[in-house]
Amino acid sequence: MYIIGENIHIVSEKVKEALASRDREFFMDLAVRQVEAGAKAIDINLGPRKKDWAEVFPWIVETIESVVDVPLSIDTTNVDGMEAALRTIRKAQPILNSTSAELERLEKVPLLAKKYGAKLIALTMGSSGIPVEADARVSIAVDIIIPRLLEIDFPMEDLIIDPLVLTVSGCQQYCPHLIEAVRMLQYAWDPSPMISVGLSNVSNSVPAENRSLINRVYCAMLMGVGLQMMIANPFDQKLMEVIGWIETKDTSTPLARLYNKIAERIANSDEPQIEDFDLSDPEQAAVWKTTQILLNKVIYAEGYLNQ
């Protein structure tokens, strides 16, 4: 699993403060620790920085590249900021995160990625918002995004499609569709486009104590349909453990076996079955309940584990 570390994100109060004081040490430390924890690239989301982009984007790129060699994912909607960052990058091939399928974005952002030799994340979101159905998302990739990239002669091996994870708390019906979208997108082009998702979005506005569980169960399902890249939290040890179990087909413990079973069921276009779970084990019971909300079988509520 190619993990793009998500922790340099402006929603974090600490990141906000560190940026305000231009605290280089803070960002250097956060980048190094993410790479040590297993991140293969570092996402940088400091927002659009409408006023100070010309200074902030080169500053953060230079700061982080002073301590790590991995690719940086430039995560912003500000096209000027994107270019300022890309121009500064000296090390690995960067990732431009992202363009949508809206015409105005598709007009500019892919050209920028091409100019600087960056990989490009393209969201399957058109001007009329995010479609629910899996095949509608695939259509956006096939009918809008890919033709535009072919038109500008963009190297297709640098395209990464993000079919958009939405939160189980409020957009629950999207969760199973996203799994199917990941499955189908691999057939959207030959060779298969890379696919990446923002995993933690699935547990946005979920109480903090339940987020990791929801993230790792969803991750197991997505690995079942072949997901190999995601923006996620490399400090989440339980998530990293589940990824390891599935990647190595480790079935040495009941829990490792269970997560592999979940991935296998989803891989076979099947659903986890209650007999796969030892419900007398509270952790397995919690995983079972989590599969049911993620597959939109049982309505999500904050207290879903207590039901």
Binding site: S169, G170, Q172, K297, V298, I299, Y300, A301, E302, G303, Y304, N306, Q307
Partner: protein
Amino acid sequence: MPLEIPKDKWPGSVRTVTLGAAAAEGGTRTKTVTIGGQTAMPYLHFEASPPHPPAVAVEIKSRPPEDWSPLLLEAWGELVNDPAAWAKKAEEIGADLIVLALTLADRPEEAVNVVQSVLRATGVPLIVWGPGQAEKDNELLVPVAEAAKGERLVLGICEDKNYRTIVAAAMANGHLVQARTPMDVNLSKQLNILISDMGMPKDRIIMDPTTGALGYGIEYGYSVMERLRLAALQGDAMTQSPMIVTPGFEAWKTKEAKVGSGVPEAWGDWKERSVNWETITAITLLESGADIVVLRYPESVARVKQAIQELMTA
């Protein structure tokens, strides 16, 4: 060629809930109302007829309403000054239930008195709403719950910010609660979980998923209710409570019902339009699974009851 109609067979059902208690059960009601028990989506008689018809409640207030449409005030006339007489009249014109809304001006002893006088004047079960401000709700509903112990009132309105005191008062005195959430299936289920976690028996919870009037978001309310009902039938215990909605309140705050002058002539007769707005809102919500509709206008009660009779006929 014979046509085979596909039928759904659901593993779950809506919980059966009884409002009001007769003398034998420790109350004073001459009629009780039982709702819920459905094992199919609304009125699909070819799958399973609903075992109980939905109930029509009429909303009255402890003091003359200050912000109600003049049409409502005209229809009820002097009765708005006398909650007991108002409730009695509502029962006479067909209300299955009375909703008594207390106001911010009420003191606790006044609230108790008005609840008792309404109970004396009527035989149907009573739903009592606080004025909708957490502190005041608790201040009024706790003594009301104690004074009417055993009547199986419905106490409301529990919301996620304020439910504990009301639930505790209902549990201690044999009442039910109305659990309201803002048009969202997740929040609706969560409040049910929180209330059940306090030890409230599940057959004493009525869900209020909130709704909008015709033309003002009713489609959102409709789909939330439909989704909750589907989950209930699929067996999700925390969505199986019967549902109460307030089409009267919603319809009578729309411009179409509220405003009589300065509107296009094509809108037609003010009164007829308003009654239609309330009636159509209510009937739409019945179709989406409402078990109790709370109305305001006398004529709407008759029309909605007529519609219920037709809906209940297989």
